[in-house]
Symmetry: C2
Subunit: 576 residues, 2 copies
């Protein structure tokens, strides 16, 4: 029997509720965004007791469907002021689903200034003291939690940044090996968790009833087809397992769309030093693991474990976005330095994308020079210490730009940009402009078509048709984000027409429904409308759906192009 765990951090009351009618049938982002839009005052302070942190597995979480275990976190974002959903791999989603938990809603705030762990298991849910974890780095905190609650639990945990309510704070989630390499990174939801006095969520699915599936046979048939789709598609079966997401460094660099030195060029002269090919070679030479699944049932295995020359396993889940943000965007061309920066971000608990953007803006402001890896490491140590400079860095690129008077800040709605130059990958630029959550590459990954030629082709420099391309991707993504599926399954479904029907068939088999592909599209639209409506009530307008002026006026090398998708097209994204 599905339940919602509702936690009040003021009264310390924890209860298991039946799922009310208006939340029935929702999962993942559909659940988090609906709860936030329904229960949170859009004008509240994101770090105040009126905000809520919502956690939810996807609709297919915990099932035999491959790559379906992602977990969504939702709240009003302290970084953007918009509604925010950020989803993450690891084992948390499947474990929640096994316990038949549809979602966790954390309310109130830590009026007693103490730290707590929410423990969820087959007997229910309780709040326990986490005073001994205060200001612990994430890796340390996770080890202590595993010592206390067992090796096999799933953990979501914040670092010192989240406890200090920094707007770049993420929420770390443990992977299949119990290591917190998975980051619910964007939008500062770690700060929301910190404002509530919640250091960690521990989920133990020992003795859990498991997910109910109405028609197991039909489900397994569809899951088998879906597996075959992923195992046949070149990106999911070859590229990603071999090189991980970091393969994109050289691809984007070649396309002139790899943002370099605070978005002042689309090419980085040291790209190959930090690209996926070099990374794989380096990992193999050092006897690390270049091919690693983050969740049970993952058959794509794009993750990895990265060792330094001396054999120290410094970081894992070492991804394209992080390597770009802390590398090319800061003019840093050395993988070992970037790996150390990545580990510091994961340990302190800050989003690598936002942190890379922020350090690059600090470099533009002259705080340290571009390319200064040691300086960047020192800046992160300031974040850990919580010094004034560290607090500025921890507040994100927009805030740092304000404090230092920098006009070239690559952001929309206050969230720093991911690793695609809008002037060179224009459909993705539209996603950055119009996503309900500020710049977010996963919200509408037009890159697939524009750069990877997956599911079609389109000239990335041509503004024509790019708003519609972004819109299509945003709708589909919003639906995928409800299922708990890893977005990378799109590299299968975009090239194999059996993919989407297999997903629909699994949903129908699990819940006893008779959905069609159109219903999935409608679900995506409904999620987007819910999110846009929250933002409208929070005071956002189409004028907030604009890239910064410098991207419209300043020509980007090497193609010397500006972002020129017509405003009319951009505003059309909202017409569903």
């Amino acid at each position: 029997m599905s339940k919602i765990v509702r936690v009040n951090m003021i009264t310390k009351g924890v209860k298991l509720e039946d799922v009310p009618d208006n939340y029935k049938g929702l999962g993942g982002r559909g659940f988090t965004s609906t709860v936030v839009a329904t229960e949170v005052d859009p004008l509240c302070h994101p770090l105040g007791k009126e905000n809520k942190l919502v956690v939810a597995p996807g609709l297919l979480g915990g099932t035999p469907c491959p790559n379906s275990g992602r977990t969504s976190f939702g709240a009003k974002s302290p970084l953007t002021g918009t509604i925010k959903e950020t989803n993450v791999g690891g084992t948390l989603g499947a474990n929640l689903a096994d316990l038949q938990i549809v979602g966790i809603v954390v309310e109130g705030e830590a009026e007693d200034d103490k730290s707590y762990t929410l423990v969820v298991n087959k007997d229910g849910a309780t709040l326990e003291s986490a005073e001994e974890l205060k200001n612990n780095l994430v890796y340390d905190a996770v080890k202590k939690l595993q010592a206390k609650y067992g090796k096999n639990v799933s953990i979501a945990c914040i670092g010192p940044a989240g406890e200090a309510k920094m707007a770049t704070a993420n929420i770390s989630v443990t992977d299949i090996d119990g290591i917190p390499t998975r980051q619910a990174g964007r939008g500062g939801l770690g700060a929301v968790m910190g404002s509530k006095g919640l250091k960690a969520i521990v989920v133990d699915d020992a003795g859990a009833p498991g997910v109910e599936i109405k028609d197991k046979k039909a489900f397994n048939n569809a899951a088998e087809v879906f597996t075959d789709v992923l195992q046949k598609a070149p990106i999911t079966s070859e590229t990603l397992p071999l090189y991980g997401t970091d393969i994109l460094i050289n691809i984007l660099n070649e396309a002139g769309g790899l943002p370099t030195r605070n978005f002042s060029s689309g090419r980085f002269e040291m790209a190959n030093n930090i690209g996926g090919e070099t990374m794989r070679e380096t990992i193999l030479k050092r006897k690390g693991n270049p091919t690693h699944p983050c969740m049970p049932g993952c058959i794509i295995k794009c993750s990895n474990a990265y060792k330094l020359e001396d054999g120290t396993e410094v970081t894992g889940g070492f991804e394209y976005e992080s390597i770009w943000a802390l590398g090319a965007n800061c003019g840093i061309g050395d993988l070992d330095t970037i790996a150390q920066l990545n580990r510091l971000c994961d340990d302190i608990g800050v989003d690598t994308i936002e942190t890379g953007d922020t350090i690059a803006v600090a470099m533009e402001a002259g705080v340290i020079p571009f390319g200064d890896g040691k300086g960047a490491i020192n800046l992160l140590k300031e974040v850990e210490k919580g010094s004034p400079l560290g607090k500025i860095i921890g507040s994100g690129a927009t805030c740092l730009g304000k404090v230092y008077g920098v006009t070239r800040v690559p952001q929309v709605k206050g969230q720093g940009m991911p690793a695609y130059e809008p002037r060179a990958v224009k459909g993705t630029g539209v996603t950055f402009a119009t996503s309900p959550m500020g710049t977010d590459h996963t919200a509408g990954y037009a890159v697939a078509v524009e750069i990877l030629g997956c599911g079609g082709t389109a000239d990335p420099l041509d503004p024509k048709g790019k708003a519609d391309l972004s819109k299509t991707f945003q709708i589909v993504t919003a639906a995928v984000d409800c299922t708990g599926l890893c977005l990378f399954i799109a590299f299968g479904t975009l090239v194999d027409e059996r993919g989407v029907p297999a997903i629909v068939a699994m949903l129908n088999a699990q819940y006893g429904l008779s959905l069609t592909g159109d219903d999935v599209t409608e679900l995506g639209k409904k999620v987007l409308q819910t999110e846009w409506d929250f933002n409208r009530r929070a005071g956002f307008t189409k004028e907030d759906d604009r890239l910064p002026l410098f991207m419209i006026k300043e020509k980007l090398p090497p193609h010397n192009t500006v972002f020129d998708v017509p405003i009319k097209d951009i505003d059309g994204v909202h017409e569903l």
Copy 2:
């Protein structure tokens, strides 16, 4: 023949232009807001080359009309992102008017990273190097400028904060004694001036043609009546000359509306130590000047010069707002400490209101304790140094709240609140919510009726009718801000029905017009509509016209009231 001085900081081109038709008949705020709304892209970065700094005397500037010499500065604000006008006393406005300069428009930015002085005199206008003034404190810079350009020039100057483009940076203007005691404080327009590489504007009216007045006799007759109005009204003829604006400390404290310790109470137990009565006594004891005019033709003389015990003349223009912000709001109850803080703000070039708000939020965050005067002085020295902590303080209360994760930030649209508690002076709360420029007491000084009983009475705690009261004040103020008149003339015109007709008669006599009182109201409405329209195009909505949630939920002692003016009433302010 009236001219506009147009300055391009990229080309260093300076030209005198005829006034185009669409700017004809505009003065002060009417001029600055119309130019900004017409020429500046509402979505531009406030510190980028697309923003413009506009300077304008009022329509009655430079005439024999008493108290008519105020100067308006306008731009898109780096603090709020809205359109901004901030006006200031001193001699600048009259001198510009004497030279028949309707306005100065400064465009572009300091691409060469050098400092300049704009010199305006009877021969025209030129840009001259100000490299020797770089990072000079305001008082030092003004002395050097007077040594170079003569004792009798008017000077507008920014401090190190403006040069560092801090969002709280003001523009200082010299008074009748050549001392930079007058501050165009709000909205961070000093940062806009700094972003353009303009350290100072020097205006020399020697040999100026003077203001043209079409019907001198009629003008003088009306001016005489107007003078009589001001000389008969109790506030302008007795209270303000005797005690200055600081008389309001005890009045607001009595009313329970003196925001104390970051807006957590409406009463300050040390109010009397810092009130106008104590200040007058202290100044007289130390042989200072308690009654000083800031501009030629001022007959109210609310300014002063304040000495420390050892006789050092530490500050001047020591006003209620500054004494409240740096005093009661920070829990500091010692006038000498506050005077030193005031001088530091004026010298570094930051707005005292925003700085007091920011220090109080820093105190709430635990950076220093409430009441720590020495700590506050040290924080300002950090601003002067430009350290990371100083840069945060210099970025204003909203930014500091973001960096330190503070939820109780008294602001609207990113601008910190002045010295009236919205929960205890509710009409003024409506002004804070709805002014086009963020919280601004001068934009609609309902306090006059609510607290001073001037021009009517209304229970300050009663939400009823307060939106209309604020609206009326906002319309009239927008008109007054076009004339160059000091807002304090309202204490005359509100109690003497000869006041407004005298102003209209002066305008008619000067320009050969036949305006009525209704035309003045229409002018005020037009200015507001121009400003609101800019903001709408910049992405602001009615959801931005909201006080922070804590003022709606948290009861304020001693009256234990919340801000409860209905949303419908607040939104009605926009219906003109």
